[in-house]
Subunit: 219 residues, 2 copies
Amino acid sequence: MSAVESGAGEWTERQRDVLDAALRLIVEGRPLTMTSLASAASCSKETIYKWFGDRAGLLTATVRHQASRVRGTPLPEGRATRDALEASLHRFAVEWLTVLGGQTSVALNRLAVAHAGTDRAADLGAIVLNNGPLAMEARLVPMLEAGRLAGILDFDAGDAETAARSFFGLVVRDVQIRLLLGDPLSLSPAEIERDAGRATRQFFTLFAGGQHRSTGGDS
Amino acid sequence: MSAVESGAGEWTERQRDVLDAALRLIVEGRPLTMTSLASAASCSKETIYKWFGDRAGLLTATVRHQASRVRGTPLPEGRATRDALEASLHRFAVEWLTVLGGQTSVALNRLAVAHAGTDRAADLGAIVLNNGPLAMEARLVPMLEAGRLAGILDFDAGDAETAARSFFGLVVRDVQIRLLLGDPLSLSPAEIERDAGRATRQFFTLFAGGQHRSTGGDS
DNA sequence: AAACAACCGTACCGTACGTTACGGTACGGC
DNA sequence: GCCGTACCGTAACGTACGGTACGGTTGTTT
């Protein structure tokens, strides 16, 4: 409880080293115990407890630490044209699939999913959620809304979130859950490129302006 | 090692009671320890070990036990018409979202995801995978292929799996991962019905025969 | 009735791990 | 030189839990 407690502040370089070591243990599948972390980071357990309080605090700090550097590349906010929007969506999909397929994402999502079922204290699930699907939506919605206002996309006002979630589905499909369940999925850059292209094309088929009725209606 | 060992066989009614008790513990978020299970199921730990070998065996038996009764409703294999196929896909989507949103599915997927990261012995991930996304695909592909042969759907031969996974994405979107991460998503029957309808309509927009070029090509 | 099997309940063992305590070292301030 | 602070390394404590052993009860067979 020196400089930061649980919220926004940053960590010392040395503290960040320890968090990176914890991350490395998680990603490499080795058990993350206080002893193993102390050994891996060449620090003492007492120090870890002093810095992070307890194991839950350590885990949240680790997840936050990783989340703090996954901010995607800022999207170019130029004049919206069909080609520019398509390129942005494509790049977005590539970036997203690349992140999802990475060892770090898989490991952290596993950790968060596991703890979402048991613990009540450490809200790892909420952290990952906010830096995962919800962050993607938050970045996507303004793009789609701009596309709608420019007449490139066609969906009802206020349905940008729905469209964003459909795009998510077209991009991710069953890839993430299969990876989390241990499916040895490959996801080479070439495949990611191809899948991103397919998803983007499908998205424009669904939501391109002026080609068909809105898909947001009820049955 | 009386009647069954680890593979296909069934369990005694009493044994199934124990597995159900284990399932109940998992679903209700209470810790599943051998002692707690013995207490909850009113049986002795020694009996549990005799029946299921060890904890890993118990978990796999539990997951298998649940998986053995989630077989979806058999799809009507009549003459393929556009309306019949749409109705089948719609029903499929409703069923799938209902299962995914259930406490049991969330709890078991969490368990399997957690173990996919650590254990090497118990392949819970593989079991859930085979009874989850892969089972859905296996049921979906013949339907889509029949639709393609009847001229209702349009995708390249052999791309039924790709189409099925796109359908999966349109139906599930980010719902499953958000649920697994603890997002308090509601998923009322009305919402499921609406989402299934939207996904089915979107799928036909993408893959209806003779309306546009195939979307399966490369860039 | 005796023998046996299946099972329950519980005491017990070994170990892994979170957490704490403590001795030892390096360093800046006075 | 001395004190306080920060840290390392490690021993020690308490607990939870997987796994085992054993006595007691019930039901079945001979």
